[in-house]
């Protein structure tokens, strides 16, 4: 037999009252919430290599995506609808990414498609996305030929492509009086499809060789090496024997770090040493080179002091995650989502053709700068040249973004 004592009854009564108040409040909040929660979400889909070779940058991309998603839904979503992101793990493998993009497009029927990280994986999914008549919003990779072949249907957020990787450096040097410029250039280029374009440009335009010619800096050593090269001492000794006072390392992070270390150990002290084949100086491994990192030039898309929307906050959260320099991929990953946000709200549609027309006709304010799109789908060129000075990166070009004067001559 169940009995109730008065104390217990009072407690239950209070609990019932509290539950009633809570339920009432919940109803009130639900009624006051924007219509966002009641409509079908807009779905943005893509893949990232959350495991495998590209796990580290991909995890950072995911962090950036989650952050943007939270922000945009707090603001009421897009077109009055909540936004949902479906990001599958492509295991850093092109074939896995291909099947996942088929799933995103055929089964999940996502509204907007975003690209995976790196040209290696991204290049493989482009034909799938294009065959479904979708735009590919690409904050994941560069590749001027891929953009051109798809006639503006890939919308990028990297503000410079391979032929322009060394452009900022030569622009800075051209600003110097002729007698202060380096006189003897050595170029080391990894033989991969990406960096050979950084060296030679495309269709006679861009590329380190053309920029050097325009700047009147003769090339005294022009060496290419297989991607499997393990030792660069011999190459560095050649540059030393040729009295090179400017060295361009056009490679990927592993070989560039190797070259930087050899340059320092061999006592080669060029006026300019640029790691212009990748954004290696923004990676966490660069400062770990110690003295060998000092004076090295590199490039990125924008810098927190430029005041672009969301950039300073992004830099702050990444600093809290242990990054002294905001990685380039984090900036472009965030910027492409800002483009999507502004394009969908501006065009007021998810129709891909209308979105494409709107994007090619308008400006977009992003963390990577204010974008105006070219016919091939890449933003108009902009670049930041940074130099590693006293243990940290400083902006040395363009002048309006400078945080320090360039120092010519490795310590």
């Amino acid at each position: 037999m169940t009995t109730f004592d008065p104390t217990r009854r009072r407690v239950l009564g209070a609990a019932g009252l509290a539950a009633g108040v809570a339920a009432g409040l919940a109803l009130a909040v639900a009624a006051a919430a924007p219509a966002v929660a009641q409509q079908a979400p807009i779905v943005i889909g893509g893949t990232l290599g959350l495991t495998g070779a590209y796990a580290e940058p991909s995890t950072d991309y995911k962090f950036v995506y989650d952050r943007w998603l939270e922000e945009v839904n707090k603001k009421g979503g897009l077109l009055g609808r909540p936004v949902k992101m479906v990001v599958y793990n492509d295991e850093s493998t092109p074939t896995v990414a291909q099947s996942l993009y088929n799933r995103l497009l055929d089964q999940d029927k996502v509204d907007i498609v975003i690209a995976p990280y790196t040209t290696f994986v991204g290049g493989a999914v482009v034909p799938i996305v294009m065959s479904h008549g979708k735009l590919l919003f690409n904050g994941g990779f560069v590749g001027i030929n891929i953009f051109r072949n798809n006639k503006g249907s890939i919308i990028g957020s990297f503000t410079y492509q391979e032929p322009d990787y060394t452009r900022g450096l030569f622009e800075m040097l051209k600003d110097l009086p002729a007698e202060q410029r380096p006189k003897r250039l050595a170029i080391f280029t990894s033989q991969n499809p990406f960096t050979v374009v950084v060296r030679a440009g495309i269709g006679g335009k861009g590329g380190a060789l053309n920029y050097a010619k325009e700047a009147g800096i003769p090339v005294v050593l022009d060496e290419q090496y297989p991607p499997t090269t393990t030792d660069f001492n011999g190459l560095v000794q050649k540059a030393k024997a040729a009295n090179a006072d400017m060295v361009l390392a056009l490679g990927l992070p592993n070989d560039t770090l190797n070259i930087a270390r050899s340059v320092h150990q061999q006592g080669l002290k060029p006026m300019v040493f640029c790691t212009c084949g990748s954004q290696v100086t923004t990676l966490s491994a660069w400062p770990k080179l110690g003295e060998a990192a000092e004076g090295g030039f590199g490039t990125t898309v924008s810098w927190p002091t430029q005041g672009y929307p969301g950039l300073a906050d992004l830099a702050a959260v990444f600093k809290a995650r242990g990054y002294e320099t905001l990685p380039t991929y984090a900036i472009v990953g965030y910027a492409i989502l800002q483009v999507i946000e502004q394009a969908v709200e501006g065009a007021k549609t998810l129709d891909q053709e209308k979105l494409k027309a709107y994007i090619h006709a308008n400006e977009f304010k992003t963390a990577a700068g204010t974008f105006r799109y070219q016919d091939d789908g890449t933003p108009v060129f902009s670049q930041i040249l940074i130099q590693f000075q006293n243990g940290r990166n400083q902006v040395v070009w363009p002048k309006q973004a400078q945080t320090a004067q360039p120092v010519l001559g490795k310590p």
């Binding site: 495998g52 060496e223 297989p226 393990t230 011999g234 592993n254 270390r261």
Partner: protein, 291 residues
């Protein structure tokens, strides 16, 4: 001019010592046990990350890590021998090769999961310093790595030459059946031999991490160099492995100085093909005789 020539020679010799230590374990395991250990580079990679983690977490100098790697990887080698090798030893050689290939893929994938493919560097207090002798620049780190390589190669040579276990291993390498008849415990010595090979691989990984940037998927490049040294040096010979390593280093260094770099590897392989055509057994006197 003389300084330039001396620089090329010094660079070649120091690089060659690194090549030699990278090929040493592979040569011993192949020469004595007849096992084509294609997982060798995976253990080299693990050695590099042992140095990296000890340095990053506890500030342990890579020289100390080199010493620590020897017992750690010796034990690891024995475990791998007991778990993997004993199961495929009696099978056809192709099955053993496939098993070792599978082991390599497994270790490299686990390495990628643990450390991703981001490039890592180990920068000790001496990494960025160099000794300049008469204009010849000798990076401290290469001198130290070369010295450690010489010590290890010398130690392995002395172990195989002057200890009872070493002599038994040599006997096993020359004629396993005869060795068994005179009382050599083949199973135990095989485990020791494999452990020694993996210990050399781990130590080589530490030496490589001192000198070069690395990631889980770059160390496989060193497998090609290790095989090159083994092919040139012949199987199972410590002294020939050393000579072959230095020869490869010198050829690379001289070729780099006198021709475009993108042709250096091609020339290196053509030269090796010519050498092996003339002298099939490489630098050692017999295909599988000496240790």
């Amino acid at each position: 001019m003389l300084t330039h020539v001396l620089s090329i020679v010094a660079d070649g010799v120091l690089l060659g010592l690194i090549y030699a230590i990278t090929g040493l374990g592979l040569s011993l395991v192949l020469g004595v046990m007849g096992i084509v250990n294609v997982a060798h580079s995976a253990f080299v990679m693990l050695g590099s990350f042992l140095a990296f983690e000890l340095f990053r977490r506890f500030g342990v100098d890579p020289v100390v890590a080199f010493v620590l790697a020897l017992p750690v990887f010796f034990v690891l080698g024995i475990v791998v021998y007991r778990v993997v090798i004993t199961r495929v030893q009696s099978a056809a050689q192709t099955q053993g090769l496939v098993a070792m290939f599978g082991l390599m893929v497994l270790i490299e994938n686990l390495g990628t999961i643990a450390w991703t493919t981001d490039t890592r560097v180990v920068t000790a207090s001496y990494t960025n310093a160099s000794l300049v002798l008469g204009g010849v620049v000798l990076p401290h780190v290469r001198l130290i790595a070369g010295g450690l390589a010489l010590l290890l190669i010398g130690g392995v040579w002395a172990f195989l030459r002057f200890t009872l276990t070493g002599r038994a291993i040599r006997a096993m390498g020359q004629n396993p059946e005869a060795a068994r008849i005179v009382g050599v415990d083949i199973a135990r010595l095989s485990a020791v031999m494999f452990g020694l090979g993996i210990a050399c691989a781990g130590a080589a990984g530490v030496a490589l991490a001192m000198v070069f940037p690395f990631s889980p998927n770059t160390q496989v490049v060193w497998l090609a160099w290790a095989f090159l040294v083994v092919i040139l040096g012949g199987l199972g010979s410590v002294a020939s492995t050393l000579a072959a390593g230095i020869a490869v280093g010198l050829i690379q260094s001289v070729c780099t100085a006198v021709m475009p770099f993108d042709t250096v590897y091609l020339v290196l392989y053509v030269l090796l093909a010519v050498i092996l055509t003339v002298r099939r057994e490489g630098l050692s006197r017999a295909v599988r005789r000496t240790i």
